[in-house]
């Protein structure tokens, strides 16, 4: 549904987005990750046709966004950053306005309104002026605007920003549900959101894509992915480390925490060595031979924030100097 090829946007000499390419199909929810100022919003603004790209092409549903913007825009629902809404209208007037611009009228408009209102839990504030809404409600009002025409493509810029934990959960579920039938792109810097709602994630840093894959694939790039963590009682840390280092097929063992009461250790897998289950069994064998009291033993899945930081951190200082 969305195809972005070699997209670039320069503001003066600053390359906000630099040669970005990706595609999102129907049934996919793409999480857009990146530190602040990485170019997430700029990319979304180009996809929705708000700003023209410096170079590259955007095609939405087969329509080129630059050459043929109207049919392309028709397919998109867009929630801009900070969820802007006309403060001098009531919620109902605002949604009605959006529906009319989307070409809905009469019965169809009424149905669309009630569907969006129900979806975003706005029925209690329908006749309230947008001016007087709390941030969460205003956010949901703008969100309702983006889904009013049941679009095939949804572009959501930080859809959970400013919501309380319950609302965040609600919106994630909503995105996940809608993602079954639509192509969705949403940006966030909350990593758990990616795991909760995305089928695929892209990490973008200083205008460039630095990682692209399913949340599981990304997590697997984490250093701890596949490592075995264990908590042992009553054995000195040095002994634990030495014994675990002796396992063939493991990269190394490390002590995570040395507490008087227990030792927390981690065994990292070696590339081409023992696989998850085998490594766990090997560790368990060592423990049994030595009669360790094991309180906990599990395989690490890897952590997104670790991947995120390892990808985006090393160069942040350089980026700061450039700016």
């Amino acid at each position: 549904m969305i195809k972005v090829s070699n997209l670039s946007k320069h503001f003066g000499t600053k390359k906000a987005v630099n040669n970005v390419s990706f595609a999102v199909e129907r049934g996919e929810v793409l999480g857009f990750l990146g530190p602040n100022g990485a170019g997430k919003s700029t990319t979304m603004r180009m996809i929705t046709g708000f700003i023209p790209p410096t170079a590259g092409t955007i095609s939405v549903g087969g329509h080129d966004m630059v050459e043929d913007p109207i049919p392309a825009k028709r397919l998109i629902g867009y929630l801009p950053e900070n969820a802007p809404a006309y403060t001098d209208m009531t919620v109902l007037q605002f949604l009605g306005f959006a529906a009319e611009l989307r070409g809905l009228s009469g019965e169809a408009k009424k149905r669309a309104l009630s569907r969006a209102v129900e979806m975003c839990f706005l029925d209690t504030v329908l006749h309230q002026s947008v001016d007087t809404l709390s941030k969460g409600y205003r956010h949901r009002t703008c969100f309702a605007q983006s889904v009013i025409h049941d679009p095939d493509v949804l572009v959501l810029d930080e859809p959970t920003d400013g919501l309380d934990p319950n609302q965040k959960h609600e919106v994630r579920q909503l995105i996940k549900r809608m993602g079954e039938k639509k192509a969705i792109i949403f940006s966030t810097h909350i990593l758990e959101e990616v795991e909760a709602a995305c089928t695929r994630a892209i990490i973008i840093d200083r205008g460039q894509i630095v990682a692209n894959g399913t949340p599981a694939e990304l997590k697997a790039r984490s250093e701890t992915a596949g490592a075995i963590s264990l908590r042992v009682l009553g054995v000195p840390a040095e002994t634990v480390k030495a014994r675990l280092n002796g396992i063939t097929g493991a990269k190394k063992a490390a002590i995570v925490k040395d507490d008087p009461a227990f030792v927390w250790a981690r065994v990292y897998p070696q590339a081409g060595g023992l696989r998850n289950g085998e490594l766990a069994r090997a560790v368990a064998d060592v423990a049994r031979q030595d009669g360790w009291k094991i309180e906990e033993l599990h395989t690490e899945e890897g952590r997104l924030d670790e991947v995120f930081r390892s990808i985006t951190l090393p160069d942040t200082a350089k980026g700061g100097q450039q700016a």
Partner: protein
């Protein structure tokens, strides 16, 4: 209705809803009517003149009144969109920027037309007291309406330039003031007496003024040149609005 006119109407309707949702619209109308009344009867010596005409006591003041009132109506057109960020919503809708520009312009113009129409008691008064030339009154109203439109288009342009309404107001007052002065006799006459300025320069500058064209409509003459002037005085700033908006997004 074609899609295009439907979009324009939707946007114009939203703009009007916005106007009337706040007290601004009502305050504006009341102030406008008070001021036109004050100018007509106190400064325009409507009764003392003893003639059944609206040109001198009533219409004469309109370009001056509009100088401040029209920018007050139009200053929020785009600057407010930019401040709220709703411009991002509006311009990612399946509409062309022109539909948005024209819709917003028409809504404000319609609002000004409503305010202007509410001055009808002055017409009733003058026709009760005497036997005025209704044709001249009609063209007077037309002229007044067109001047308001020209100022409004300029305000639309200046409001696209900034997200600050006050700046947009001041800029448009300055531009509109220039459009009055460059053809206003007390300014052009001394200029014409300076020898080294060729006459055609004065004439050209004069023809840019709303005053020359407004006055000819006051006389009850609808000249196609005046109409073309007003159409271009509205069209050009609106075109510039589009260019500015596109520049903003690039």
């Amino acid at each position: 209705m074609s899609t295009s006119t439907r979009h324009i109407w939707t946007i114009a309707k939203r703009e009007l809803v916005g106007f009337f949702a706040s007290p601004v619209a009502y305050v504006f109308i009341v102030i406008y009517l008070l001021l036109t009344g004050f100018f007509t009867f106190m400064l325009g010596f409507f009764f003392e003149r003893g003639e059944a005409s609206l040109a001198a006591p009533f219409f004469f003041w309109h370009p001056w009144l509009y100088l401040f009132l029209v920018p007050a109506v139009g200053m929020r057109l785009w600057s407010e969109e930019r401040r709220l960020g709703t411009i991002e919503l509006l311009l990612t809708m399946p509409i062309t920027p022109w539909q948005a520009i024209v819709g917003k312009f028409l809504a404000s113009w319609l609002f000004l037309a409503l305010a202007l129409a509410l001055t009808f008691p002055v017409v009733i008064t003058v026709s009760y007291l005497g036997d005025p030339d209704m044709g001249a009154i009609l063209t007077g109203y037309l002229g007044s309406f067109l001047v308001a439109g020209a100022y409004l288009a300029i305000t639309s342009m200046t409001s696209a330039l900034t997200r600050n309404q006050v700046i947009s107001f001041i800029l448009s007052v300055v531009v509109c003031f220039f459009l009055i002065l460059c053809g206003w006799e007390p300014v052009t006459r001394p200029l014409a007496s300076i020898e080294w300025i060729p006459n055609w320069v004065i004439r050209t500058v004069e023809s840019f003024s709303v005053m020359t064209h407004y006055l000819s409509l006051q006389r009850g003459v609808i000249d196609s040149r005046d109409l073309i002037y007003f159409l271009s005085a509205m069209g050009f700033p609106l075109f510039c609005t589009g260019v500015i908006l596109r520049g903003l997004r690039a």
